[in-house]
Structures are given as C-alpha cells and as structure tokens.
C-alpha cells in the first residue's frame, strides 16, 4: 500500500498543506464545515486543481488523470449511479478497468456478503434506505481494490444506531483490507475512535496533527463536555462552537451558531 505525500499544496481553499500519510494508515481529517477537508480529499483524488505536488509512494501523480490515480472514493452524497442496480454499481469500477467478468462476479459477491447486502443485489438506489445506500457506496468504493481509500463523511446523514454499526464496519474493513485511508469528518466521536492519526483543519490549514491521545491531551476536555460536543449527531447547532486548548488557545471552530 502506498504512502501519500502532499507537498506545499495550495488552492482556493487549502493553504500550505504539507502532509505525509503513512502506508496503511487511517488518517482522519477533522474540522468544521467549510474548513477544506473535502477539498483536500479532492486534491488527493485529482478532482480539483491545485498548486504543489501529490506523491504516491514517492511518485508525483499531479499529471495523472483521475482514473489513473486509482483511489477508492466514497463521496459524502454517496452518488450511487441511479440507473444501475446494487450489483452493477459495485461492479462498475471493476468493469471500467477491464477486469474479466469471472473476477468481477467473484469480487462483487464477496463484497455483497462482506457488507451484508446480498439480498439487495437486484435493487436500484431509489429503493434503498440511507444505511443501505451507505453500505453499497462503501462496497463500490472498495471493489476495485484501490490502494488508497478516501471517505468523505460517510456516516453523515445516518441515524445514531446505523452510524455506530457502520463505524465498526469501516474499522473492521480497514483492518481486513489494510488500505491507506483518509477519512473526513466533523464528528468528534468518529474522528477519535477510528483514527490512527487525526489532522485538525481550520480555515484550509492543518493546525494540529497527531495520534488521538496526543490531540486530546491538548484539548480542554471540560470545554468539550460543557458544550455537549460528544453529541455530534444532533447537528451543528447543538455541537461545540470551538475546541479550546488547555493553554487557552483555540484549536478549531465547529458549528455555525455559537
């Protein structure tokens, strides 16, 4: 699995990004809405323009078109292809990459089983619930056995129960597939339970990076608790306005109302 190196990345949202994502690491990009987390994922995938350099295993991929970067990308809005049923959605990446049909069938069946969605294989996206869509999207992003997985707030629109279940699934999947994963979220709980390392973004810049324990040591935990920050799923209005550091500084602002 490759490591990902971002060297002096700048664009209209992200500024001075220098980041080294290790081989097989689960890195969480954490921050409020509009801080550039998704843009950073798009930069890695090659979906937006940028200055600087992205390297996979030391090889610059800046000139590579998106399809040659071969990253698995789970979009926030999931974007399951509405005209393809679950089976063909999952098989899409394999088929466009010209994999033999026997291999496609094998891999799709494996993923349908792994995600527990075998019974949904013939359904179209319009007939799926939020949680089912999420699992199909995850299976589709995983199918081509990409060496890099980019997950953009995959549990965002789910109820607490389904989100909790899928969080465990994602964790299990990462351990099983051992792919380098970049995971975007504004949710404290997701970030600090899933990550090997957390990169905190604010105003398009990485303001802190480290393992969850180290980041937590710097944060004023009382402030988090008082602000009900753990209840991230109730939406921005109820989540913390800011994460304060023990020295009185502010790590990042979250939520729009306070």
């Amino acid at each position: 699995m490759p490591n990902i190196r971002l060297k002096n990345i700048n664009n209209f949202i992200c500024h001075d990004i220098d980041l080294n994502i290790r081989d097989k690491e689960f890195l969480v990009l954490w921050g409020a809405t509009g801080t550039g987390k998704t843009t950073l994922l798009n930069i890695i995938a090659g979906l937006v323009e940028y200055e600087g350099s992205v390297l996979f295993d030391g090889i610059p991929v800046d000139k590579f078109p998106v399809y040659k970067r071969k990253v698995g990308y789970l979009f926030q809005s999931l974007v399951l292809f509405p005209h393809l049923n679950v089976r063909t959605n999952i098989a899409y990446g394999l088929r466009v990459q010209g994999k033999p049909e026997s291999e496609v069938e094998l891999r799709v069946n494996e993923l349908l089983k792994l995600m527990g969605i075998k019974h949904l294989a013939g359904r179209f996206p319009k007939d799926l619930s939020g949680g089912e869509k999420q699992r199909v999207a995850l299976a589709r992003a995983t199918a081509p056995s990409s060496e890099i997985m980019l997950l953009d707030e995959p549990l965002n629109s789910l109820d607490l129960h389904t989100a909790g279940y899928l969080r465990t699934e994602i964790h299990r999947l990462h351990r099983k597939l051992s792919v380098t994963t970049v995971y975007v979220t504004h949710c404290f709980e997701e970030a600090f339970t899933l990550a090997d390392r957390v990169a905190v973004l604010n105003n398009g810049r990485i303001v802190r990076i480290g393992c969850p324990e180290d980041i937590l040591k710097e944060i004023n935990c009382r402030a988090i608790a008082e602000d009900g920050f753990y209840d991230c799923r109730q939406g921005n209005k109820n989540s913390a306005a800011q994460i304060k550091l023990k020295d009185g500084g502010v790590l990042c602002h979250l939520g729009g109302d306070r």
């Binding site: 979906l47 078109p65 998106v66 399809y67 071969k70 979009f75 809005s77 974007v79 292809f81 005209h83």
Partner: protein, 255 residues
C-alpha cells in the same frame, strides 16, 4: 387495470363519434356535403385502403418521416452530446444554433425548395430540420443537467472519459433525449403533411390537396384521421421505449 383504463379513455372518443354521426344524420348542421357522417368517412377509408391509394400515399409519407426523423434525431443526439459534454464545443456551436433554432421548420421550405428542388429530398430535409434542433437542445439540457458528482464518482472508480460518457452521462440523459424524440416524432408528421401539400405529388399531404380540389371532404377527414393516429402512434412508441429503458431506476417514471 391498465387495460380497463385504456378502455375508459376510449369511451369519450366513441361518444364523440356517435354524436358526430347523429348530428349529421339528423341534419342539425347545415351543408351535409361539407360535413359527412362518420360512417361515410369509414366507408371511404375502407374504399381507399382496398384500392391501395391510401396505402401508397401513406407509405410515401411514412418513409420520408422515418428517414428524416432518424437522420435528424441521430444528428441532434450526436451534436447534443458533444455540446453538452464539451464546454468548448458548446461555446462555439450554441450561438450559431440558437440563431437557427427559433425558425419554424416550415420557414425553411422556400430555401430548401431552391436548394434541393421539388423531389424526395425536400420533405425529408424538412423533417430533418424539424427534428434536429429540438432533439439537440433536449440532449444538451439532459447532459448538462446531470449531477457532476456522478461523473466525478465514475472517474474516481477508474472510468476513462469515453466510459464516463457511454456508461454514465448518456444513460442518465436518456429521459431528456426521449422527451425531445417524443415531441418531434409527432411534429415530424405535422410538417411532412405541410411539405407534401405545397410541393410533392405523393404522400398524405398530397392526397389531402387532391381531395380538396375534388371537394371530397370525406377523403380529407380520412387523411386527417390517419395523420392524428400516426402522430399519436409515434409519440406513444417513443414513450414506450423510454419507459422500457428507464422506468426501473427513475424515481417518478410515468407511462
């Protein structure tokens, strides 16, 4: 249930035909000569069909519509896809086509007569022009209206531009493309009649003109009924194909 609905929708038509028959038979409208009863129209329809006149004229019109509509639609879809998918082509072609688009299809008739003469090409060209522009713009609208995230997702899964176009963009634009085809399938019959009435000795339009010169209102009505049925048949045909291709995945597919 569908069959029952179809039968119900026929009831008003049958009532209308019955009223027509009664009103004319009872001479409630003046000028029986200019307004024959429905039964006389049907007799004439049978007569024209049996002697082959109606079939000959009908086949001439049908062939022209099929050629013109196919050529115009294919050209409209191809150019529409290019314009919808490639912004550079859209920027160049749109100002030109938007100048021609508002011109009614029959407005082209005089210049096409001069360019192609009076012959088989003329009505085909009229149908071509009639179908090209609306199909083109419906295709452009369909392609431009696709959520760009679908394209991004396909690319991120390893699809080349060609694959993105053929497996994502075109299938998702199908509902819009079919709207264009459906509208223009009916319109093609309307304009072909006009072209045949003006310039061509064969076809339903030509038969209409002959009937008018012979004061045969019954034949005129036969031609109008054929025209109405063909407009409806073509529109329903494309609606059916669209339904077959898209109803499984569309949220509010109707048929």
């Amino acid at each position: 249930m569908k069959k029952i609905k179809a039968v119900y929708s026929l009831v008003p038509v049958l009532v209308f035909l019955l009223i027509w028959e009664i009103v004319v038979r009872l001479e409630l409208v003046p000028g029986h000569f200019f307004f024959p009863p429905f039964s006389v129209v049907i007799q004439e329809f049978y007569h024209l069909t049996a002697n082959g006149v109606l079939i000959d004229h009908f086949l001439s019109s049908l062939l022209r519509v099929l050629i013109g509509l196919s050529a115009g639609s294919i050209a409209g879809i191809v150019v529409g896809i290019l314009m919808g998918y490639e912004e550079k082509i859209h920027k160049v072609a749109h100002p030109i086509f938007s100048l021609f688009y508002p011109i009614p299809a029959l407005g082209w008739l005089p210049i096409l007569m001069l360019w192609f003469g009076i012959g088989e090409i003329l009505p085909i060209m009229i149908v071509f022009v009639c179908s090209f522009f609306p199909v083109l713009y419906n295709t452009v609208t369909g392609i431009k209206g696709i959520n760009k995230n679908f394209v991004k997702a396909a690319r991120s899964l390893g699809a080349s531009e060609w694959k993105v176009l053929t497996t994502i963009v075109i299938p998702l634009a199908l509902p819009n493309i079919f709207t264009g085809l459906r509208l223009e399938a009916g319109m093609a019959w309307r304009v072909i009649i006009a072209a045949e009435m003006v310039a061509i000795p064969t076809g339903i339009g030509a038969l209409l003109m002959k009937a008018e010169s012979l004061l045969r209102v019954d034949i005129i009505i036969v031609c109008l009924i054929v025209l109405a049925v063909m407009c409806l048949t073509f529109e329903r045909f494309f609606l059916y194909i669209e339904h077959k291709l898209t109803h499984k995945w569309r949220q509010n597919a109707q048929y």
